[in-house]
C-alpha cells in the first residue's frame, strides 16, 4: 500500500554519488535488478513516513537532482558528438581516471592502517589526531594545494630534500596530481573505515590472538575481511572525491594537457571560453562516475 512512494524517496537520494558511507552501502539506482527482499531482512519502513520528514526529504532530493537535470536539459546535444570526439577530452578523462584510482590506492595503503590505529590503539592525543585527519575536509582545496606546495614543493619543507637527494619534484607532474587528490580524498576513506572498525566487534581479533595469531595476522585474516564492506565504501567515496578534485590539483600540480590537466581542470578552463564544451565535458565526467559507482555497487556494496 504505502511502501512504493516512501521506499522510492528513501533509496533515490544517493544517485548524486556523494553522501555518507551508509548511503553508498544501501542506496543507488536500479533497484529492479535486485532480487526480491531477502526473507530474513526486516522491512525498512513499517508505517508511512511522517510529513515533517517526508517533505524536507523530497525537497532535499529535488535540491540535489535538479541541477543535474538542468545540466542535461541545457546540454548542447547537437554538437555533442563533435565535442566529445576530440583527443583532448579523452586524454583528460583518462588522466582523471588513472589519477583518481592511483590516489585511492595510495589512500588505501596508508589510510586503512591509520584508521586501524585510530580505532584500535589507545594513545594520548588520539582525539587530536582524529581531528587532524579530518582537517583536509574543512580546508578549502586551494589552500590544501598551497599547503602541499609549502611541504612538498621544490622549495618546500620536505620537497627541498626530495629534490636535493633524489632529484624528485612533485609539482607539475602526474605524481603531483595523485598526491593532491589523495590529500583531499583520504580523510573520507579514513573516516569510513574507522567507523566500520569501531562498529566491528574487537573480540574476534582478541580470539584470534589468544589462539596464537600475531596482531598483524589477526588484522590481515580477521579484521580486514570483517570490515571489507566499509573499506570498499570508503574507497568509493575517496575515488569519487578524487575524480572531482579541482582546487588542490590546479594549485599544486598546475595545468598541462596530458600530464596534469584532469577533467575538472579542463571543464573549468573550457567554461571560460566555451561554456557548451564545458557542459559536455561535465556530462562525460558525470556519466563515467555514475557508471562506475553503479557498477561497483552491484559488485561490492550489496554484500554489506
Amino acid at each position: 500500500m504505502t511502501p512504493p512512494s516512501t521506499a522510492g524517496a528513501g533509496t533515490g537520494g544517493s544517485d548524486g554519488g556523494g553522501g555518507g558511507p551508509r548511503d553508498v552501502l544501501t542506496g543507488g539506482p536500479a533497484p529492479s535488478r535486485r532480487p526480491k527482499s531477502k526473507p530474513g531482512k526486516r522491512t525498512r519502513v513499517r508505517t508511512a513516513a511522517p510529513l515533517p520528514l517526508l517533505v524536507p526529504a523530497l525537497l532535499g532530493l529535488a535540491f540535489l537532482v535538479l541541477p543535474l537535470l538542468a545540466l542535461l536539459l541545457r546540454a548542447p546535444w547537437s554538437s555533442m558528438p563533435e565535442l566529445l570526439t576530440s583527443a583532448e577530452v579523452w586524454q583528460a578523462l583518462r588522466l582523471s581516471l588513472v589519477c583518481a584510482t592511483a590516489a585511492t590506492a595510495l589512500s588505501l595503503v596508508i589510510g586503512v592502517p591509520l584508521a586501524w590505529l585510530l580505532a584500535r590503539v589507545e594513545f594520548p592525543g588520539r582525539g587530536l589526531v582524529r581531528a587532524l585527519v579530518t582537517l583536509p575536509l574543512v580546508l578549502p582545496p586551494v589552500v590544501g594545494g598551497v599547503a602541499l606546495l609549502m611541504a612538498l614543493g621544490r622549495n618546500g619543507v620536505v620537497g627541498r630534500w626530495l629534490d636535493d637527494w633524489f632529484g624528485v619534484t612533485l609539482p607539475f607532474t602526474t605524481a603531483g596530481v595523485v598526491v593532491a587528490e589523495a590529500f583531499v580524498a583520504m580523510p573520507f576513506l579514513v573516516i569510513a573505515v574507522e567507523g566500520t572498525l569501531r562498529a566491528a566487534d574487537p573480540r574476534y581479533e582478541e580470539a584470534a590472538t589468544t589462539l596464537g595469531a600475531s596482531r598483524f595476522t589477526a588484522f590481515r585474516r580477521v579484521t580486514l575481511p570483517l570490515v571489507a564492506p566499509g573499506i570498499a565504501a570508503g574507497a568509493v567515496l575517496a575515488w569519487a572525491r578524487a575524480l572531482g578534485e579541482f582546487g588542490a590539483t590546479i594549485t599544486f600540480a598546475g595545468n598541462f594537457p596530458g600530464r596534469t590537466q584532469t577533467m575538472p581542470l579542463s571543464v573549468y578552463l573550457a567554461l571560460q571560453s566555451d561554456p557548451e564544451a564545458a557542459i559536455a565535458l561535465s556530462l562525460v565526467l558525470l556519466a563515467v562516475s555514475v557508471a562506475v559507482l553503479a557498477g561497483l555497487r552491484d559488485r561490492w556494496m550489496t554484500s554489506a
Partner: protein, 272 residues
C-alpha cells in the same frame, strides 16, 4: 510528542542524511567566490552612496585597490567591492548574471564576450595598455636574458592558459619570435603564473610588467623585444544591469582621469 521506537529507522535515516549533508557541504570545491554580496544601493541622485562592484582583470589588482580606496575617500558613504580574476572567468560570470557595475578586462577579446552578450552599457573604452615581461627568480640565477632562453630544456617555465589574455599575448610574442615553448603548466590567470615563481616552484613565467613590479623583490623582471608585438589593450565598461549606475560612472571616470592614470602608470601600465 516523543519518538516511538517504531519510528527509529526513519529518524536514523534522517540523521545519516543530515550527517551526509554536513560532510558534503564541507567538501564542495571552492570554485569562484566571485558572487560578491550585493545590497540595494539606492541613491538616485545627488550624493553618491552605496556599493560599487567592479570585476577586474587579475593584473589590475594592486592599482585598482588603490583607486578604490581613493574613491571611497573622495565619496564618503560609498564602498567599492572588487572581484579580481582571469578576464575570461569574469566575463563568463558577468554573462551568467553576476551582479556587477563595472567590468575592466585585460583584452578586447574577452570584453567582446560581454558586449556580444549585450550586457555592456555603451562602448568599452581602452584605459591602459600592458606589456609582457619575463619574471625570473630573484637574482636571475638561470641567467635568462631573452624569450629564447626560456625554451632551454630543464628550465621550468609557466605560462598563462591561452583562454586568458596574458596567455594569448604570450603566444603572440612567441609566434613573433618564431619560438616554440613547452611550459610545465598553463595557469588559470596571471597571478597564479606569477605566484609559481614567487613560491620558487617554477624558474620563470611570462607575465605582465605590472605584475613583476607588484611582486616587488620576490621576482626579477627581464624585458624582451618580442613583447612589443603583444601589447594588450585594457577596455573598461559600465554594465547594463548595474545596480549602482551613478557611482559606477564616477568610478570609471576616476580610472580614466589624470589622477587615475597616474596611479596606473605608476604601477607600470602604459598610457592608451
Amino acid at each position: 510528542m516523543r519518538t516511538r521506537s517504531s519510528n527509529r529507522p526513519v529518524l536514523l535515516a534522517a540523521g545519516v542524511g543530515a550527517a551526509a549533508l554536513l560532510v558534503l557541504s564541507a567538501c564542495s570545491d571552492s570554485g569562484s567566490g566571485s558572487e560578491a554580496g550585493k545590497d540595494d544601493a539606492g541613491a538616485a541622485s545627488g550624493e553618491l552612496s552605496g556599493e560599487v562592484t567592479v570585476f577586474a582583470a587579475a593584473s589590475l589588482t594592486e592599482s585598482f585597490e588603490e583607486l578604490g580606496a581613493q574613491f571611497e575617500r573622495d565619496h564618503p558613504g560609498t564602498k567599492v567591492t572588487f572581484s579580481f580574476g582571469g578576464s575570461d572567468a569574469l566575463a563568463a560570470s558577468i554573462t551568467g548574471g553576476a551582479p556587477a557595475d563595472v567590468f575592466a578586462s585585460a583584452s578586447p577579446t574577452t570584453m567582446e564576450i560581454v558586449t556580444d552578450a549585450g550586457v555592456a552599457a555603451g562602448t568599452p573604452e581602452t584605459f591602459v595598455r600592458n606589456r609582457l615581461e619575463i619574471a625570473t627568480l630573484p637574482g636571475n640565477p638561470d641567467g635568462v636574458a631573452s624569450l629564447e632562453d626560456l625554451t632551454e630544456p630543464g628550465l621550468k617555465v609557466v605560462l598563462c592558459d591561452e583562454a586568458v589574455p596574458c596567455g594569448s599575448a604570450a603566444q603572440k610574442a612567441l609566434n613573433a619570435g618564431s619560438l616554440k615553448l613547452t611550459p610545465v603548466s598553463y595557469e588559470e590567470d596571471v597571478k597564479s603564473a606569477l605566484n609559481k615563481v614567487v613560491l620558487k616552484e617554477a624558474d620563470a613565467a611570462v607575465v605582465y610588467k605590472t605584475d613583476v613590479r607588484a611582486a616587488g623583490g620576490k621576482v626579477e623582471g627581464v624585458d624582451f623585444p618580442e613583447s612589443a608585438d603583444a601589447i594588450n589593450d585594457y577596455p573598461i565598461t559600465l554594465l547594463k544591469d548595474a545596480p549602482n549606475t551613478a557611482a559606477a560612472e564616477a568610478f570609471v571616470e576616476l580610472v580614466r582621469s589624470a589622477e587615475g592614470q597616474k596611479v596606473l602608470t605608476g604601477a607600470g601600465f602604459l598610457k592608451p
